[in-house]
Each structure stands twice: as structure tokens, then as C-alpha cells.
Subunit: 254 residues, 2 copies
């Protein structure tokens, strides 16, 4: 397949590299910032462009992987292409494309991507959606090449998944950052807590999280919770998080 | 070493099995609930007791692994023993023992333990504290048998570590439980999000969490955050958590 990639962020980068590794040909990488486009295009033997008017009109697939609020603008520049146009957003409806392009779809990888961390695409859940069966089949075939976990999901389900992902990934990562801050201020290395983080995730690979909840809140250990809140006396932000989540744990374990 | 284990909870169970596997002899398991004591004692070829007056007075080591507020009561029953008496609590001072027993110490494993999940003790950070060098050496030798990560930490640092662990483990696990709830209510399987959870933890094994933060809050994507809050309209508890953590992410990324 000949592919044009519109975007050069975390998702675009990981997806393009995975496609490239499976023998798909990325023709062009578009970014508003030509330097970013070039950085990625170089790794894919693709052309870097920073002007939507330069987009190759003959590709089989156009992947729009830009900020949600820029998807529509990018889509308007693809109104004449015959290839399939997909976006990679968890929260954006397929209809944002349908009103601008002939063949619109969704190709949403449910994973956290950072440019500095490589990962295998094999077990990245890929959520696909299309407007007709032929297009769905094209996306399904492509998705199956990349990953063992391919899901057909409509926009409503995809949005639910994206919301769940914020709770399962973005928020926990921020709590790891708070743990790091607490340790750092007391000259303790983040390394000491890494095995705990690894095990916390590993535990829910075979169990449901609510069945392996530990800590003072689920034990209703008010004494320890009060001591912790005292230690956070000068950190209203952390104290607030501590109270909010502890209350929620108590609520759920009732 | 001949060991008496006072407690039969998650920490007691994992620690006793690890000691047993390294050839240490657990003589007795005490629990207020004789059935619990028996369940664990059977696996260790130890005697199960439910009365502190039955505790063998001649052991080398007494490990008190009970709820924090029960440690002192258990310690008072060990005032005549010559062996070393340690507790396994992250938040409790060593002095709670010193006033009751001859030789008090701390043996705190920084990990999340659930009876239903086995784990290797090799990389469980063990935090030890003692009142004199001889006792510290005994604990260090024992800890080194069990784990490659042994830290000498005073009570103040141990309490910091315990607080950080709540942020790095207990709170994230609760957020996983919320993600599960969101998925379940929409007939989506928890399996779909497990690779994301695994990668979220894996990312911070070699990176610091603040450098790999992703999601709408760190992008300041108000549109997505507002949509998410709408989806949580009838869930004040989750909405509250969503707002609190998102604000904190924005604050930290400023």
C-alpha cells in the first residue's frame, strides 16, 4: 500500500515505523513544521512536506494523525483523493471525515506512545471503523498485519475506550510522577520504587484491579491516611489528590 | 534461622514463603484467626497458634506482620524473648518495639502483595532498620538472601517511601479499577486495555514519568477533557477524580 502520513507526532511516528517495518510504503510525511516532517520522513525513505497542496493525490491510504482540532482542516485538503482517509483519534467521530472526503475511516491504536520509547506493535489493540464493508476489510487487513488485537468499534465505544485509557494510563503516569517528586525531595532514588510499579501493572494482567487493591484506604486505616496527609501539609495539590482517590477507594470497597 | 511469624496477611504470607524457600525455618504462625494461621502454617510445616501466650520464646527472629495498630499489642507479648523482633510496616516507627522488646528492628518489603498472585522476591526492595550494628548485620544478611535490593533506611525515609508507594501503586490500581468499571458498563472487555497498562508501567522503567506523560491534560486539550467530563455526568466520584488529576497534570507541566 502507498501511504501518505499527515502528522509527525507520537502516534504518527510509531504507526509509520510499524507500517514501514511491515513493508508498506510511506510516500510522504506532512507536518506544519518541515523539520519534524523531515526527521520522520528520513527514517521511512519518504518525502517531507509542509504544505497540504503538495499532498500526493494518488495514494491508497491517507493517515491523519494530528491534534484532534486540526483533523478537519487537514481533511478538507483531501476532498479529491480516491484513496481511503483515516484519522487516528480516540475521541473524534468518523463523520468529521465523511463530510469532506469520499472514503473516511478510523484507525485508532489504543496505546501510549512517546518518541523516546520503542515498542512492539504486535499487542497494540487497533480499533477500526469504516463506512462500508469494503473499506472496513481494507483496514482490517492492514490492522491484522500490524497487530494481533484488532477490534471493530463504532465511535461511541471508541470514545468510551479513550476515556478508560485516560484512567488506565495518563492518570497513573501522573501519579508515578508525584511519587518521583516525593522521593526526589527526600533524596531517594526513583529506582527504589520501580519494582513496585512493575508489579502493580503485572498484577492486573491476570486479575481484575478491584480484587487486588491494597493500601491504607482499602483497609480503612485512618491513622496512616492522616499521617500521610500531614506529610503533604505544604503540598495542597498532592493532598487534594490523596483525599480524592482515598475517598473513592473507600466508596468502591464498601 | 528459627523464625516465629506473627500475622497471616498478604505481607506475612509472601515473606514467610520466600524465607521458607531460602531454607529458613518458620516454627510458628500466629493469627487471631486460627484457620488463617493454619492455612499458612501448613505450607511452611509450621505450627499454627492463635494465642500469644503460646509463642515459642527461643526463636532467633520474630516477624510481626499485622495491622499497624496491632503491632504494639503483639510486641508486648515478646518482652522476654532474646531473639530479634522486627515489624514489616512502612509507617510505624522502630521505637514502638524498642519500648517493649530487647532487640527491635524493621524489615519492610516495598511491594504490593496479594495472596492470589505469586511473585519473585529477588527484586523486592527490602528496607531494614535496627538499633545497633550487630542486629543490622543480621537483618542485612537475611535480606540479602531474599533480594538483590536491600536498603538501610531510617523511619523518616521509610515513611516517605510508603507515602510514595501509595501514589505509585495503590492509587494507580484504583484508577485501573475505574477504567474497568467504565469498560464494563459499555460491554467492553478489560483485556482490551491491559496492553496499555503494561506499557504505561514499562515506559517508566527506563524513563522518568514526567518525561513520558501523554493524554489530553498535558496537551491542554480542553475540548477532549470537556467531552470526557460530559461522559461522566452521572458519576460524580469519577468526575471529581478526573478534574483533580487533570488540574494537577496541567500544573506540573507548566
Amino acid at each position: 500500500m502507498n501511504i501518505v502520513l499527515l502528522g509527525s507526532g507520537n502516534v504518527a511516528t510509531h504507526l509509520a515505523k510499524a507500517l514501514n517495518a511491515k513493508g508498506e510504503q510511506v510516500l510522504q510525511v506532512y507536518s506544519q513544521n518541515l523539520l519534524n516532517a523531515k526527521l520522520l520522513a528520513k527514517q521511512l525513505n519518504a518525502e517531507a512536506i509542509d504544505n497540504l497542496a503538495q499532498v500526493d493525490q494518488t495514494a491508497d491510504l491517507y493517515i491523519i494523525s494530528v491534534k484532534d482540532d486540526a483533523i478537519e482542516h487537514v481533511a478538507t485538503s483531501l476532498k479529491n483523493v480516491n484513496g481511503l482517509v483515516v484519522h487516528t483519534s480516540g475521541t473524534t467521530d468518523i463523520s468529521i471525515l465523511s463530510s469532506h472526503v469520499k472514503n473516511g475511516g478510523v484507525f485508532y491504536p489504543l496505546q501510549t506512545f512517546s518518541k523516546i520509547k520503542a515498542l512492539s506493535f504486535d499487542d497494540v489493540p487497533l480499533c477500526i471503523e469504516a463506512n462500508d464493508d469494503n473499506q472496513l476489510q481494507i483496514l482490517k487487513d492492514l490492522a491484522n498485519k500490524l497487530s494481533d488485537q484488532v477490534y471493530e468499534l463504532d465511535g461511541a465505544k471508541r470514545k468510551v475506550l479513550h476515556l478508560a485509557a485516560v484512567f488506565a494510563c495518563n492518570f497513573p503516569n501522573h501519579l508515578f510522577a508525584m511519587a518521583h517528586k516525593i522521593l526526589e525531595e527526600n533524596n531517594l532514588d526513583f529506582n527504589i520504587i520501580r519494582p513496585l510499579i512493575a508489579e502493580t501493572a503485572d498484577k492486573v494482567m491476570d486479575n481484575l484491579p478491584e480484587s487486588v487493591q491494597t493500601g491504607p484506604a482499602v483497609r480503612n486505616d485512618e491513622n496512616t491516611m492522616n499521617k500521610h496527609l500531614e506529610m503533604l501539609e505544604n503540598k495542597p495539590d498532592m493532598q487534594n489528590i490523596y483525599k480524592t482517590i482515598s475517598s473513592s477507594i473507600k466508596l468502591m470497597s464498601k
